[in-house]
């Protein structure tokens, strides 16, 4: 059962187009939506959260479109972005008030419990909160509601390792009952890589691949070696070759490893490395045209 279904989303602005974004996210899983700055991640998220309307395409959350029931649709979404969205003059009591007014499922008890657990100061203005505290406050406000889909847009940027680790635990607890899902966008994957079940990579408004993270990591190998060791047939199998003064680095399909043999060094690639070489490969293809 899919919690989120995105079908054929198109959106064009002056100078930017989002092309045919199609994917689904099953209940109880975490999906990483990755790409460079300007690749179209936030545009996609804005279309899902209905901050803007798609030119074409459809989004369903738990089977429901926005048009069918705008209020229920929005109630299902919890959003945490990289910019803090409550007014800086607010204290916690103001946030309790505004959340109660805006969201029918907001539970003050739950909010108080989280605020206490994360030691967010009651009397201080938000302006005096650290970045980590602000992020935790956004999570507290979202997790105190009855949501089904958590959307994070670069939410872990600029967090120290301790808070980031807390956030990872929060996310995993959120999906633990198997009914809710998380879509997070990021341009730096390392910290979220380990908990992501699925990865979608977009570049220049187009989807490059979607896969389970396990598949993706099993599928490729990072290879390093010397320029003079590769012949034409091997060269054609290198993806996104990057040349250095003392050797090259690329990724290859794991199935090709035996053909390359033991003259090369192999490593398990991180998702970031896979993405880097795939982007590089794209650039080379364009240059070839």
């Amino acid at each position: 059962m899919n919690l989120l279904e995105v079908k054929g989303l198109y959106k064009s602005y002056s100078g930017f187009q989002l092309h045919d974004i199609t994917f689904s996210l099953p209940k109880g899983y975490i999906m990483g939506y990755i790409g460079q700055n300007g690749a179209g991640k936030t545009t996609t998220i804005n279309l899902i959260t209905q901050l803007s309307n798609a030119d074409k395409g459809e989004v369903r959350i738990d089977g429901m479109t926005y048009a069918q029931n705008p209020i229920s649709y929005k109630e299902m979404i919890g959003y945490v972005g990289d910019e803090f969205y409550f007014p800086k003059e607010f204290k916690l009591k103001d946030i309790r008030l505004i959340m109660t007014k805006f969201f029918s499922t907001f539970q003050v008890d739950k909010f108080n419990q989280l605020v206490e657990e994360w030691k967010l100061p009651e009397k201080k203005k938000i302006a005096e909160y650290s970045r980590g505290m602000k992020v935790k406050l956004m999570f507290a406000s979202v997790l105190s509601r009855d949501t089904k889909l958590l959307i994070l847009d670069e939410a872990t940027n600029g967090l120290d390792p301790v808070v980031r680790n807390d956030v990872l635990k929060i996310l995993q607890a959120y999906i633990e009952d198997g009914e809710k899902s998380i879509l997070f966008s990021t341009h730096i994957l390392s910290d979220l890589e380990q908990i992501a079940d699925y990865i979608i990579f977009i570049n220049e408004g187009k989807m490059q691949f979607k896969a389970s993270k396990e598949e993706l990591i099993d599928q490729y190998l990072l290879i390093k070696g010397a320029e003079n060791e590769i012949n034409q047939s091997l060269r054609s199998k290198l993806i996104g070759k990057i040349n250095g003064d003392f050797g090259f680095e690329a990724i290859i399909s794991a199935d090709d490893a035996t053909e390359f043999g033991s003259r090369f060094v192999y490593e398990k690639p991180s998702i970031d490395q896979i993405v880097l070489h795939i982007i590089k490969n794209g650039e080379m293809t364009y240059a070839g045209n």
Binding site: Q172, E176, D197, S212
Partner: protein
């Protein structure tokens, strides 16, 4: 149950989880009938994806170590289980193979090795 995963390991994470649980079942640290933590709870506790822990549990089930039931969790199967017994046998053979090989290297006789085994056996009985 103890599970330590490493990103630096050659083994994929699902395989590390699988091997560690297997090891603990075979050496008796996890007893038969034990209900393992749920796939989702385990994923949260060790900070890996749900797909990763699912794959580890699926493999353990295929190899006959555990049985998973919808809504009831995964339970460690009895040692009487045929597949598991086979695994134990492989383990015993491996241990004895190393012992015999080493014994031959220093020219011990078969009788001496038998003797040694029975001493160890009795020693363990007394403990």
């Amino acid at each position: 149950m103890k599970i330590l995963v490493s990103n630096q390991s050659e083994l994929p994470i699902y395989a590390q989880i699988k091997e560690q649980i297997k090891e603990q079942i075979l050496n008796g640290q996890i007893l038969e009938g034990t209900v393992l933590p749920s796939i989702r709870m385990l994923a949260k506790e060790i900070g890996v994806s749900v797909i990763t822990t699912t794959r580890a549990y699926n493999d353990l089930e295929k190899e006959g170590y555990i049985s998973s039931m919808q809504g009831k969790g995964s339970i460690v199967l009895s040692k009487e289980n045929k597949i598991l017994k086979e695994q134990y046998l492989v383990r015993i053979e491996q241990g004895l193979f190393t012992a015999v090989e080493t014994a031959k290297r220093i020219e011990m006789t078969e009788a001496q090795v038998h003797n040694l085994i029975s001493q160890i056996w009795k020693g363990m009985m007394e403990e």
